[in-house]
Structures are given as C-alpha cells and as structure tokens.
Symmetry: C2
Subunit: 191 residues, 2 copies
C-alpha cells in the first residue's frame, strides 16, 4: 500500500493467512484468556414442510459484539422429494458435512500456516451413512444421526499426510461431531 522505504514490512502471509495477525492473536489470548470467549448465533424460521431458513449475522468475541458484518448470511434447508420436501436447499445432515469439511480444511490451513507449512491445494470428499429408521422412530437400537462419517482429503503440500491430519484435528466442528456436547432445547408456545 505504501512504497516508502520506511513503511513496515509486509505481513507474512502463508496459505492466505496473515501469520503476523495469527501470532498477535495467540499472544493477546495468552495475556488475557477472556478474549478467547466467543458466542455464535443463528436465527431460523420455518417456511413450509421441510423448508426453513436461517439468518446468521451477529456474534460476540474479544469482549465485544462484532460490528463488521453489515448484512446477514441467509441459508435455506429443505429435503429432497424422496424425503417429502421440495429440494429448496441442502438438507440439515448435508449441511453438517459442509460444516465439517469447511472446518477441517480451515483448521489444516491455519495450523499449517502457523508452522510455516505451505499448502498449495486441498480437496475433500465426505460421506455419511444414515439409517432413516432412527429418525422415523421405528427401531430404538438405530441411532437417528449418522452412524459413521468418512473424510478423504487430497492435499497438495510437501508436508506428510500424518502431520496434516493431526493439524486438521484441532477443528472445532470435528470436536463437535466426534464428541458429545450439551444441547439445551427449550420450547415456548403461543397457545
């Protein structure tokens, strides 16, 4: 931005990640762990049948409410015809695969950047096996969600597959899906 020789050195960017900012974040959190507390949110409205819509905008982090987002992200979920919907969007369990793929990828990229490991490309394919009898309540021994999820990454990097896999496992969504988590559901009715 500034060709003057006295300007600061350009940020060290690895894998598209500003590692100076990353290390500054780590140092700030080490000095003040309260900065690491984040709260993310979503609002959802049912439209019809299997079709509903989420809007996502505000979140809290670093002891303040985010002010940078000017418009919400809007995403629709629906079911395909075989699951009695009109296919106006991916279905909820497909969104889980997207969230998991995205989080493992970003985590691999960020943690590699912090270690100076260059990544030139990442593609992944995810599969999740689900037995609908759980959802339908036909068999108590069949779980409602996925029985297993498989993730296959193809990464263009000189680092070893083992190292990249370990880096990806810092992923928050990998933790959320792999491990149990308290989800508190409250319902109020207008009736």
């Amino acid at each position: 931005m500034n060709a003057n020789n006295a300007s600061p050195a350009p940020a060290r960017v690895i894998n598209g990640v500003d590692t100076d900012a990353l290390f500054a974040t780590i140092d700030a959190v080490k000095a003040d762990p309260g900065l690491a507390e984040f709260q993310f949110r979503a609002d959802n409205r049912w439209l019809d049948g299997g079709h509903n819509r989420s809007t996502i905008k505000g979140f809290r982090g670093c002891r303040q409410e985010d002010q940078t987002r000017t418009a919400p992200f809007v995403m629709d979920a629906d079911e395909p015809p075989v699951l009695l919907g009109r296919d106006a969007g991916a279905n909820p369990v497909e969104y889980v695969l997207h969230a998991l793929a995205a989080c493992l990828t970003t985590t691999m990229v960020y943690h590699a950047a912090a270690r100076g490991i260059a990544i030139r490309g990442i593609e992944s394919r995810l599969e999740g096996d689900l037995d609908l009898r759980g959802f339908l309540g036909l068999d108590d021994t069949v779980r409602k969600g996925y029985r297993e999820v498989r993730v296959l990454f193809d990464v263009d990097s000189d680092a070893s597959p083992e190292v990249l896999r370990e880096l990806a496992k810092y992923s928050p969504v990998y933790d959320i899906v792999s491990n149990s988590l308290p989800v508190k559901v409250q319902v109020r009715t207008s009736a």
Copy 2:
C-alpha cells in the same frame, strides 16, 4: 390437478407435509428395512485462507442413487476479519447452528404431522459458546468445539411445549451434535 370426480382423494397435507406419503414411507421401511439406508455426501475445495466452498448434489437412498437433483447446492464458508478471514460466508461453527436449527425444526414439523398436530409457525434462536483457546492449542483442558449450545423455540401451535420438544428430539443433527460419532479422516498428499 384433475377435477374429474373419479380422481383419487387429495393427499392429506399437515404442516406442508404429505402425510399419506409419510405413512407410505414408514410402511415401506417396515416391510424392507434396507430402504432406510441413506448416504449423503459433500465435496469441498479450499479457495484461500479461511475461505472454502462445498458442492452438494448426489446422495443414495431407497437402494438407488438420487436422479432428481439437476444442479448442486453450493455453499461458501469463511471467517470474519477478527478470525483472520474475509467474511465471504458464515463460518463452520455457524453452519453447525444452522444445521441444528433446520433439523430440529423439520423434525418437529414432520413428527407433528404424523400425529395430526397442526403447527402454524416456528422461530428459533440458537447460541453456542466457544473458547478459542481450544482451537489455538493453548490449553488442553479447553475443548475445541462449543462448550454448550442453547436452542430457544417459539412455536405457534395448540400442542404443549413438552410434546413439541420431545418430537424435535428425533432430529438426526441433534443426535450428531449431542452424542459422539466416529469420524474417520484420511489424508493423501500429492508430494
């Protein structure tokens, strides 16, 4: 579609769900449990930094590959500036909240329809608390994903909040997030 008096009775639609088709699905699965086996998939490609993109199209169910979807659903994930991204999409843990909201909502709607319970409207608000020290690897005692997720539903229905809450808990994504699940991650490199 057909005004002829000899045409079949119209499908019984409750909450936008064709309950005739729903009960036919349940009967078919009872007679042949293999029809209930589904496999959902996602493909993801890293773009830069915290930005990546999933495409979701094919899935398998009822012993066949879906032929109804003609175009993929495409969704971008990124991180906001405070998390070193450019905010080109909701972030992965926000997508988890969307998936959970969508699935609890659809599940409440479908299971209510099966019981003849009319629902006139549903809105929900979700919050998830996350301590970034887990992701950053700064404290092994801090988990990487959400510590807790809260879901508040406002439902316009004559059914009781307790009944609606129990119906929602047939949700596959509620199961995925609440309970542990084997996620197998494999990495191949081109190096």
